[in-house]
Symmetry: C2
Subunit: 93 residues, 2 copies
């Protein structure tokens, strides 16, 4: 494994909050803008923004700005990193 403990923990921060899990679920069927995520969740706009930042930092979510909209989607690459770490723990690497 090429990552240290801090970096690994940062990746998985994406998955250890209830609301972030909910956001990830919403992104499963494809890219969504922040406003659509917001209306599907029971949190304020700044709270969503904060979680999106955490998700971007973790690398599990991609962001794409288009005009005044911010579009978010699940990052295959990010998921693969997480997956690789779990494989590593399974002794499969």
């Amino acid at each position: 494994m090429e990552l240290n403990e801090k970096q690994t923990a940062a990746i998985f921060k994406a998955f250890c909050d209830e609301n972030r899990i909910k956001i990830l679920q919403l992104l499963i069927d494809g890219e969504k803008c922040a406003c659509r995520l917001l209306e599907a969740m029971n949190i304020t706009q700044p709270t969503l923004s904060h979680h999106m930042k955490t998700l971007l930092d973790s690398g599990i979510v991609n962001g794409r700005k288009e005009g005044k909209w911010m579009h978010y989607s699940i990052s295959e690459e990010g998921l693969e990193k997480a997956q690789k770490y779990i494989d590593y723990l399974k002794g499969e690497v």
Copy 2:
């Protein structure tokens, strides 16, 4: 997915702390007792005990008591659950 957001977050709690990641690394090459984990880490015994409880709760680690020793090991079953969730996010389920 048969798990709710809270349960899913609980599983991944295992991976979102630096020290817990370190503990998991130590368990990769097999079961270890708490005392051996302790001497490999830079934390006090109660802190280790606290993290082991979190890891047990997450289902990622198994515990086995033998005399006065507590032996911990990585749970294949727990890892599989985590893995399945990530597969799910990838749209592979």
